[in-house]
Symmetry: C2
Subunit: 118 residues, 2 copies
């Protein structure tokens, strides 16, 4: 497994270790944001429930992401299964604005498609 990024230390893609770059390293891995998002929206999940909610994540990758997110303090494993920590909840809330952007983007794409289609 890859090292888990830690703010203040050099991380993949940034020698400075600027916290934001470390976070981009953590969340810029396949499925990382999707897992935080899904886990926050679904609430506590078993491994398999989370896997299904994610539609198409392989168990190896899910397990890798969960380990990283747990080590980073964004996710924890309790009696109800996996769930986000308060830090993970903050992370989820910080991702919320992206939802609006994604919708703007979607209409944006539709327009450029119709530009070339019509």
């Amino acid at each position: 497994m890859t090292d888990i990024p830690v703010p203040g230390k050099a991380v993949r893609g940034s020698r400075s270790g600027a916290p934001i770059m470390a976070l981009f390293d953590l969340l810029g891995r396949r499925w990382a944001m999707g897992v935080v998002w899904t886990l926050s929206e679904e609430g506590p999940c078993t491994f398999r429930a989370l896997q299904e909610a994610c539609e198409s994540i392989s168990p190896a990758v899910l397990n890798a992401r969960l380990k990283e997110l747990r080590a980073a303090g964004f996710v924890t494993q309790g009696d109800g299964g996996y769930c986000v920590t308060p830090l993970g909840q903050e992370g989820y809330e910080a991702l919320l604005p992206l939802s609006k952007v994604s919708k703007v983007w979607a209409t944006h794409i539709e327009q450029s498609v119709s530009d070339t289609t019509d």
Copy 2:
């Protein structure tokens, strides 16, 4: 190169094509968020200036991310070099809350380090 994710179509990691998942696909690639971030903060950049501002990105990956982000409408290439589009600016602004999270995370980590060190 991998396909560029498009909201509404199945993307890597999501059959639904929910816009947010398509965006996670786009931005969840190595350096994607860092490029948007850096380009927004630095303003228009030449390829090489952007490469240096990113500290340690390889030209092949930078080029791949720029192509994807241009195709997605987040980045454009003008006279002053590469720069973010209005959509890219929205994306950047949507990432801003992550900065605070990264700082909370950084202090969080310091504490857990001192927990085991002291």
